[in-house]
């Protein structure tokens, strides 16, 4: 019996500790939901024969797990490419000296507004911040069309936003601060607090609360809205402030990691991600809006040409985000 135990232990340990070979591979860390990013990465693997080794992030860690891992791995990077679902995280990495410049030829016709001037990151396929609402609880006339409408008495305790310290919600708030100025933005958030805004754990939770009718409406991202529509939920959505400051557009961003172990393969992956083909796939799978001109998109997806975008500088907004984190923490804890 003792020998059997010993043999099993040795066998399992040998099987499970076997090192993985390091041949023609590329390592990618992504905060984009696995359900959408994995098929794209698999396609790259079958097109090029370069093996993809991916690390995905989790909702539970507010999609900050891979970012923290990249920061911790700074001195000996394991990752070649970081694919982020928004521009914030990549700018954090750029500021920490973790990214490396790369100007992909595939991104030549993407508007410079969605690219880092120093080529540390390049944007593609964008999402937007929208207001999702429950059609059973709000008629078309009752739906708010500006973020300022949410401070009105009729929406008291009936709208939700995700935890403002994390993810695209933080970025949205930072963009509002950049766009409106500190004083006006702080007044807006004080008014929202007074109007009993519901704080959800994540954008997905905002979507869920609206679908279930726990709240009438909430701020979330377009991909969440399209998922809800796919699930045949009775919801609608509007791009806010189309007559005013516009809606926040958040491109996916991709970046090459400094001193990455497979730089050339990393560049190939970046080129693939920045292609029209990838944008078309992301438009189909998760309703992301292409930044390239002339990409075929499904009929129910709004084109970027039809949205008034919030006019912000992504770098400055990322800087603003760092400055308002303490304010947001206090606002949340009030």
């Amino acid at each position: 019996m003792k020998k059997i135990f010993l043999k099993i232990a040795i066998l399992i340990t040998l099987i499970t500790t076997g090192c993985t070979e390091n041949t023609d591979t590329v390592v990618v860390y992504t905060t984009v939901d696995q359900i959408f990013s994995e098929p794209i990465l698999n396609d790259f693997e079958s097109h090029t024969g370069i093996k993809i080794k991916a690390i995905y992030d989790t909702e539970e860690t507010k999609s900050t797990g891979v970012l923290n891992r990249l920061i911790a791995e700074k001195d000996n990077p394991q990752c070649d490419v970081f694919w982020s679902g928004d521009p914030v995280r990549i700018i954090v990495l750029k500021n920490k000296g973790i990214t490396s410049p790369y100007q992909s030829p595939m991104a030549n016709d993407i508007n410079g507004f969605f690219k880092d001037p120093d080529h540390h990151w390049t944007g593609f396929s964008a999402r937007a911040r929208v207001l999702i609402y429950n059609k059973n609880l709000l008629t078309k006339e009752e739906v708010p069309h500006s973020i300022f409408d949410l401070t009105k008495e009729q929406y008291r305790g009936k709208f939700a936003i995700a935890n403002p310290l994390f993810g695209t919600t933080t970025f949205h708030i930072a963009a509002l601060f950049t766009s409106l100025g500190d004083e006006r933005a702080k007044q807006l958030f004080a008014d929202l607090k007074n109007n009993e805004v519901v704080i959800a754990s994540s954008n997905g939770d905002v979507k869920k609360q609206v679908i279930l009718g726990k709240v009438a409406c909430g701020l979330t991202d377009t991909d969440d809205v399209y998922e809800a529509i796919k699930e045949q939920a009775n919801i609608g959505f509007v791009f806010l402030d189309q007559q005013g400051i516009g809606s926040l557009i958040m491109p996916n961003t991709v970046s090459l990691i400094k001193k990455s172990p497979h730089t050339e393969n990393g560049k190939k992956l970046m080129d693939y991600l920045l292609s029209k083909e990838t944008e078309a796939k992301l438009a189909k799978s998760c309703a992301q809006m292409p930044l390239h001109k002339g990409v075929k998109i499904p009929g129910d997806i709004t084109s970027l040409d039809n949205i008034i975008p919030m006019n912000i500088d992504y770098d400055k907004t990322a800087q603003k985000l760092e400055n308002i984190q303490n304010y947001l923490k206090k606002w949340l804890e009030q």
Binding site: A9, T58, A72, N76, E231
Partner: protein, 520 residues
């Protein structure tokens, strides 16, 4: 003499390996974080941020963890007693069924309860509060208390109780003999649940409840201030060490009666007329802690047919072999380390390894993950960092303490005279361990192995930080797929994880039952 040397060599090997591979990375990272140049914020700035608010938050978190640990231990005594000391109906079923909340991630259980409350009451006000956090975590950790306390009940020598019964009624025997005999298990249950509860952040953050760990998480993930997060974690670790120190001091003064021997009576007939009540209690707890969340998950999974369940199975299938293999290997390593630590702590009275195990156990998972990255992510150690070995190091660090505590309790209950008699007979140490000690503590080793397997298979906090790119591990895949996946798919994946764990435990249980036959 040679035996003594081998014994010392073995201990040094285990102690040295644990220190070198698991504790040193933490010291290294903490030291690095405390150096002013290591981060944007200086040490002084960070120290100033640890103010009265931090301590009051820590006190609040301690109060919550205390409530959870207290409730779980009380419930563990009640259900442990019913399951292991009476001949209640459906005993075998409840013994496994009540463990189910341990298989499901706290985060997913919180989501299920949230949905259930909303469907039933139209709001979640009760849950989105300290009370809700206490309720959910009590549901999750009570099975741990049941296993710990139940295995202690199994080890009680019936002769002591029977002697008591000759003098007084059985209720007095329970309070004056039975419960004092299992005091180490009660304290272990309390300490383990307290540490698990105070380190847990996914449930409080889901319900928007601010506790000390959500503060650490915020510093870590929103402010990227690793130094402050590590400093705050240090406070948490100190608190846990203090708790263990108090436990040790208390146990050292407590007079323990050694138990076990021949004539074991693991059940009695005193509660026969309470059979209905006992089954009802078990069923109510089963309904609340298992059935309700599972029904919610089932409804969500199969609302639109079986398509999502089949899809979930296909997605998770590639992870099964890896995850089960890793969980087995991890649990085995934990048992070896835990047994060594427990043996030297109880027999040789050398507690240093147990303290090291607690130190790592009390370190928040994410911080431990960062420590492993910072230490192992260098070209020289790439063989460890890029392989499954890094995950096994994570498991060993996080869970060896649990194995050590369970085995330590079991050893505490073995009369020293057994070993002394064998020693006088000239039986060598290894034979004494193999023939006397191990068979007597086998139920506890088995319980420790099962618990470690469950924890290893569900470990997320550290594994998410260190798992090698391109590898597929069950809990990681579930959680990475959760974001934006349809609810039916998420619930199906949870059910599959639950089924896999249940199958694994049943297989282990059957294996354990067959074990004595093999030995004979």
């Amino acid at each position: 003499m040679i035996i003594r040397s081998i014994e010392r060599l073995w201990y040094s090997l285990v102690f040295g390996s644990f220190f070198l591979f698991i504790v040193l990375p933490i010291f290294y990272t903490v030291g690095d974080a405390l150096l002013p140049k290591a981060s944007n914020s200086s040490l002084v700035e960070n120290l100033l941020l640890i103010n009265n608010d931090s301590f009051s938050l820590l006190a609040k978190s301690s109060a919550i963890a205390f409530s959870i640990a207290f409730l779980s231990t009380i419930l563990g005594v009640i259900f442990g007693f019913i399951l292991f000391k009476t001949n209640v109906a459906f005993q075998g079923f409840f013994k496994i069924a009540l463990l189910i909340p341990l298989f499901i991630s706290p985060y997913i259980l919180a989501v299920a309860w949230n949905d259930f409350f909303y469907l039933c009451f139209g709001n979640i006000n009760l849950l989105a509060s300290y009370l809700g956090v206490i309720l959910i975590l009590t549901f999750i950790y009570t099975p741990l208390s049941i296993v710990i306390i139940g295995s202690a009940f199994l080890n009680i020598n019936a002769q002591l109780e029977e002697a008591g019964e000759m003098m007084t009624d059985y209720l007095h025997v329970i309070f004056k003999i039975t419960l004092p005999l299992i005091k180490p298990a009660l304290l272990t249950s309390f300490v383990l649940v307290f540490i698990f509860s105070i380190s847990e952040f996914s449930v409080p953050i889901f319900f928007g409840v601010k506790v000390f760990t959500t503060e650490i998480f915020t510093q870590f993930s929103a402010f990227y201030n690793h130094s402050l997060a590590i400093l705050q974690s240090t406070l948490l670790i100190l608190l846990c060490l203090l708790l263990l120190f108090s436990e040790k001091a208390y146990l050292a003064e407590a007079p323990f009666l050694s138990v076990q021997g021949g004539g074991i009576r693991t059940e009695n007939n005193h509660f026969n007329h309470w059979r209905g009540l006992n089954v009802s209690l078990l069923f109510i707890w089963f309904l609340l802690s298992v059935l309700l969340p599972l029904v919610v998950l089932f409804i969500q999974s199969f609302d639109d047919g079986t398509a999502k369940f089949i899809q979930a199975f296909a997605l998770l299938k590639p992870t099964f072999i890896n995850s089960i293999g890793l969980a087995f290997a991890g649990a085995m390593i934990c048992i070896v380390i835990g047994f060594t630590a427990a043996y030297v702590a109880e027999v040789k009275k050398t507690k240093s390894l147990i303290w090291l195990l607690l130190f790592v156990f009390a370190t928040p998972s994410t911080i431990f993950g960062i420590c492993l990255i910072k230490f192992y992510n260098r070209p020289l150690l790439d063989a460890i960092y890029s392989s499954y070995a890094i995950i096994l190091l994570g498991y060993s660090g996080k869970f060896s303490f649990i194995a050590a505590k369970l085995i330590e309790n079991a050893i505490k209950q073995i009369p020293k005279s057994f070993d002394e008699v064998a020693q006088i007979q000239g039986i060598v140490l290894f034979r004494r361990i193999w023939m006397i000690l191990l068979p007597l503590i086998m139920p506890s080793i088995f319980a420790a192995f099962i618990i470690n397997c469950i924890f290893c298979i569900g470990e997320l906090g550290t594994t998410i930080m260190v798992y090698p790119p391109g590898t597929e591990i069950l809990p990681i895949k579930v959680f990475t797929l959760m974001a934006n996946a349809p609810q039916a798919l998420i619930s199906s994946m949870t059910l599959i994880v639950f089924s896999i764990t249940l199958l694994l435990i049943t297989a282990l249980y059957l294996f354990f039952k067959a074990l004595p036959k093999c030995q004979s």
